[in-house]
């Protein structure tokens, strides 16, 4: 990078970049301590997981090289494949709904109205609250006989639901908790985007007699597109990783009806102690996340060009 810049400059192609580099290298020591910790707690686990995934790893320390056997087993493990499907189902809903609601909320909070600060603070409380604590309260609200949610349904004339106690409704119910929890983050990212939009196009549109709806559709949405993509990427990754609330509320149940990849991984590793097999799950799971993130980043690059 520095080299090409200097050649473009035409002069002192050799000397200047080197001095520049030495200058930068002096800051190396600022990064070293933190780098050591990152190496130990973040990079070592990545590498070791790949190593473990190629072994039959038992808790006592016994290990045996099995090559790709864990991966071969995964591909034919119906329970794992179903957990992928459930994860995608859960993620799809947990991305689309917060995106729509988050956009609506951001548009609302971008306007000035009385008590706006207070309303916004309350709105972001769910994402700061301790997931386990919140999940407990939801669990009590889902109780089929005594829960407050079925009472609410009754008040508006709807039949009671089994919520997390039936295989059909468990995932939509968990999505509801996820939406409640993480819509605020989408809202904050989009609110930041709205605040950065230029004002001129709106004035021009007003002069041209555009309706508010036309202004939203033809000005706000295209200008907001990069922020929408960032929110989409973050939301997708977080939804794929969802664990705490699902684990606390259902532990993957009833049966395996809400067993997502993360729950499957947890059970394999820390309930059955199939550490090698679980490591293979981690590698595959990680690949899925990176793949989706790359697709979304590619979308982002295209949005930026357009």
């Amino acid at each position: 990078m520095a080299g090409s810049a200097a050649t473009l400059d035409g002069t002192a192609a050799g000397a200047r970049p080197r001095r520049r580099q030495n200058y930068a290298r002096r800051y190396w020591w600022f990064v070293v301590p933190c780098g050591a910790v990152v190496l130990g707690t973040i990079i070592f686990p990545w590498v070791f997981t790949v190593y473990m995934s190629m072994h039959d790893f038992k808790l006592g320390g016994a290990r045996e090289w099995v090559g790709s056997a864990n991966y071969v087993k995964l591909v034919s493990d119906e329970r794992f494949l179903l957990s992928i499907m459930r994860t995608l189902y859960f993620t799809g809903l947990s991305v689309v709904i917060p995106m729509v609601l988050g956009l609506l909320a951001a548009l609302a909070f971008a306007r000035k109205f009385p008590l706006r600060g207070l309303a916004r603070t309350i709105f972001i409380l769910p994402m700061m609250a301790t997931p386990v604590a919140v999940a407990l309260v939801w669990t009590m609200m889902f109780h089929p006989q005594l829960g407050v949610l079925n009472w609410l349904l009754q008040q508006v004339g709807l039949p009671p639901s089994m919520w997390v106690y039936s295989p059909e409704t468990v995932i939509p119910t968990l999505v509801m908790v996820e939406v409640w929890h993480w819509t605020p983050l989408v809202m904050l990212i989009l609110l930041g985007g709205l605040a950065s939009l230029p004002i001129d196009p709106y004035e021009a549109a007003k002069i041209d007699g555009a309706t508010p709806w036309q202004a939203f559709w033809h000005i706000t949405l295209p200008l907001l597109a990069p922020f929408l993509v960032v929110a989409l990427i973050i939301r997708t990754i977080d939804a794929l990783k969802a664990f705490d609330t699902i684990y606390v509320i259902t532990q993957g149940g009833p049966g395996t009806a809400s067993e997502t990849i993360n729950i499957f991984l947890y059970l394999q590793a820390f309930a059955y102690y199939n550490l090698g097999y679980a490591s293979a799950v981690v590698v595959v799971f990680f690949a899925i996340i990176i793949l989706l993130a790359m697709v979304l980043l590619w979308t982002r690059a295209r949005v930026k060009d357009a």
Partner: protein, 275 residues
């Protein structure tokens, strides 16, 4: 006519805002309500909404029947250590990365943000067993660094990149070492950034469940794990459960209310989230 339309629109907008805020406030108020009612009222149907009279028994029970105080102390130790260490390590690192324009380092941090927390646990779990750290708080603090360090580095990196370089350069010309320039010029300027990073790292460490869930023994549980255990063992005593849940999350809710400006700024900039 126009005025009528305007009023109607305002009412509609107000209703919309109430609908946006209602789910959030309802869940927290219900948590509060459950924690202040007797067991009889909590299992009554139709539900009793306003505790009459409010009772503190549930909170008393939480402290009497569980090792709640001990777990609270554990949580405080873990979150403060993990946040403090992350600041100590991450602030200079963010500075160094910003100065060296080391984009590759930034990518590592980004991938760390993407990786599911659970996937760090298997290797670290084994590692702690081998070196015999299980049964102490150390493994929990160390794993919490996985959350706090990326948050701090990410925020500080962005913050230092945004600072004008002239002041430090002037200090360097005057004969200061780069460490002095960092310590006495850049760091004071970056105080708002450090505040944001500290608050967010603390909250996400405090809220973290999975690391302590796997690594903690009876004596080393953090609050989220302790509360989850209460659910498993006391299926239907909702009062104490809600009281415990409220106690666990109250510190972060208070912190959010007090520092909402910084939190909003930090989250909007980086989209950071732990775990």
């Amino acid at each position: 006519m126009r005025k009528v339309k305007r009023i109607a629109w305002n009412i509609g907008f107000g209703f919309g805002v109430v609908m946006l805020v209602a789910p959030a406030i309802t869940v927290f108020l219900w948590m509060l309500s459950l924690s202040l009612k007797t067991e009889l009222d909590n299992t009554d149907y139709p539900p009793v909404f306003i505790p009459n009279p409010p009772v503190m028994d549930n909170f008393v029970q939480v402290f009497e029947r569980n090792n709640f105080l001990k777990y609270a102390i554990n949580s405080v130790i873990v979150s403060f250590s993990a946040t403090g260490l992350a600041i100590l390590l991450g602030v200079p690192a963010g500075y160094g990365i910003a100065k060296m324009k080391a984009t590759k380092a930034a990518v590592v941090i980004l991938i760390a943000r993407i990786t599911p927390g659970l996937s760090y646990l298997i290797p670290l779990f084994l590692l702690f067993q081998w070196i015999g750290l299980t049964g102490t708080l150390a493994p929990i603090v160390i794993t919490h660094l996985v959350i706090t360090v990326p948050i701090v580095v990410w925020i500080m990196m962005g913050f230092f990149e945004g600072l004008p370089a002239e002041l430090e350069e002037a200090a360097l010309v005057d004969g200061a070492t780069i460490w002095q320039a960092f310590r006495h010029v850049a760091m004071p300027l970056a105080k708002p950034g450090i505040t944001v990073a500290t608050i967010l790292a603390f909250i996400f460490s405090w809220n973290n469940f999975i690391f302590a869930m796997v690594l903690a023994g009876r004596e080393t549980r953090t609050l989220p794990v302790a509360v989850n255990n209460m659910l498993t063992f006391e299926q239907i005593s909702w009062g104490p459960l809600s009281a415990a849940a409220l106690l666990v999350t109250a510190p972060v809710l208070l912190l959010t209310l007090l520092a909402q400006k910084q939190i909003v700024a930090g989250l909007t900039a980086g989209g950071v989230k732990g775990g």
